[in-house]
């Protein structure tokens, strides 16, 4: 990822999104000119991901000033770039996430002499939430309630998956603690061994030294 960061933008705020793979988030955040803000999301492999971003126009009725342009880069955890946009007001991206892991969407606002702040509205969906429910409604004449219940079913499924994930993590944590515990036991034996051997070596060395010097 090769974003030019201006000298004055030492302020890099990493906004990483921890969430289920069915989460929908649409957030608004401020970005000062010359600064970079990055959003990261953990996406499972082979899941669809859809993102939309646009600059919010705070002066209703007036067009956006030309200086309000942002550069966007979406990269995977391994460094492969999936979306590039330079000096745009808005855009969108959609791709199939082949690699699992943290995907980062970084926003950079072009530098402006009186430091301005742009407000960016960013909507990033992945997994089941990326499914377009309106197209499903159009395809067959299903009732609103059925869509709602389908959505809830997906939510329950994702809750279930998340529970498995949490269980696995707890298992890993337990393993970590057990291994730390056993390492400490071995290290305490090592400490005993080290101190005794050091004392013994000192004693033996000095004894032979003094015997050589004929002082003993």
């Amino acid at each position: 990822m090769n974003i030019q960061i201006q000298r004055q933008s030492l302020f890099l705020v990493l906004v990483s999104i921890l969430l289920l793979w069915t989460r929908v988030e649409s957030i608004q955040f401020d970005l000062e000119s010359g600064h970079t803000k990055c959003i990261a999301e953990d996406i499972k492999s082979n899941s669809m991901t859809v993102g939309k971003y646009h600059i919010v126009n705070l002066n209703e009725g007036h067009p956006l000033p030309d200086s309000h342009k942002i550069t966007v880069r979406v990269t995977s955890g391994y460094g492969n770039s999936y979306h590039n946009a330079d000096n745009v007001n808005e855009g969108h991206f959609a791709f199939q996430a082949v690699e699992a892991g943290d995907y980062m969407a970084c926003f950079f606002a072009a530098d402006h002499k009186p430091s301005t702040t742009v407000t960016i509205d960013f909507d990033w969906k992945s997994g089941v939430a990326a499914k377009d429910w309106t197209s499903v409604a159009k395809k067959s004449s299903v009732e609103l309630m059925e869509i709602e219940l389908k959505k809830m079913f997906d939510t329950v499924q994702s809750i279930h998956d998340e529970m498995f994930y949490l269980r696995e993590r707890e298992e890993e944590m337990q393993q970590l603690n057990i291994s730390t515990n056993s390492k400490m036991a071995w290290l305490s034996f090592l400490s005993l061994f080290v101190s005794l051997s050091v004392a013994g070596l000192q004693f033996w060395h000095l004894k032979s030294f003094f015997q050589k010097k004929k002082l003993i």
């Binding site: 921890l18 608004q28 702040t117 609103l144 809830m152 939510t155 949490l166 290290l187 400490s191 000095l206």
Partner: protein, 228 residues
């Protein structure tokens, strides 16, 4: 913020589409984590008065080990009624406030619709990483039922069910964030304990070597003849 300017066709499909979008707007969760260096704020718009805004936040430790009681961060929710645009200036009513907390759940009823600003303030020099979720949920009440003939009492039940599911999801976010924080602490403890212990042994060996060297020097002829 959802783009409400979508085209609506005429006919029953239009109502279905509109209702669908309305329903999809009313319960959203945003879950994210920020590194708070001084102050970080997130904006969320609440559409209906009386909605329950709930959520939680957890401070993931960032290198604070000296005291067992973490100093924590301050969490405040500001409320700008009847505004639909960003407000970065100070002001607005404080709806909820928490000082020096390392993680908590919150829930309040939105007094009016409008823009809500959730701010985290770090009064210490070390940056802290905070992971939080916000959820605004709307359950159609009698007034909504009377206004819109497409809403059934069953929609109320469905909305309640959906809200409960979102609460479960929020709770899971909280647990996941706490797990991350716990794991961070454990890993750093393990790394530092092993590092310091091995370092301590090496230091012991080095110091005893230096002791031997010093004693030898005391007894060599070149330093001074029979000084000891």
């Amino acid at each position: 913020m959802e783009n409400r300017g979508r085209s609506i066709r005429c006919g029953w499909a239009a109502f279905a589409l509109f209702g669908l979008q309305l329903l999809s707007m009313v319960s959203r969760i945003s879950a994210l984590s920020v590194t708070v260096i001084d102050t970080e704020c997130v904006y969320e718009y609440v559409f209906y008065e009386g909605d329950t805004v709930s959520g939680n936040f957890v401070v993931v430790d960032h290198e604070y080990f000296w005291d067992s009681k973490h100093p924590g961060i301050d969490f405040t929710v500001f409320h700008f009624p009847f505004l639909s645009f960003h407000v970065t200036s100070p002001g607005g009513n404080t709806v909820h406030s928490l000082k020096g907390s390392t993680g908590d759940k919150y829930e309040f009823k939105a007094p009016t619709s409008g823009m809500y600003k959730f701010c985290f303030h770090n009064s210490h020099s070390t940056p802290e990483s905070v992971s939080f979720s916000i959820h605004t949920g709307h359950i159609p009440n009698q007034h909504d039922l009377a206004k819109d003939e497409h809403l059934d009492p069953i929609n109320v039940r469905i909305a309640e069910l959906r809200e409960k599911l979102e609460y479960v999801t929020l709770e899971q976010n909280y647990l996941r964030a706490r797990d991350v924080s716990h794991r961070h602490t454990n890993q750093s403890t393990r790394k530092r304990v092993i590092f310091y212990t091995v370092g301590e042994y090496l230091l012991l060996v080095v110091v005893s070597g230096l002791q031997v060297v010093y004693v030898r020097r005391l007894f060599t002829k070149s330093v001074s003849y029979n000084r000891v």
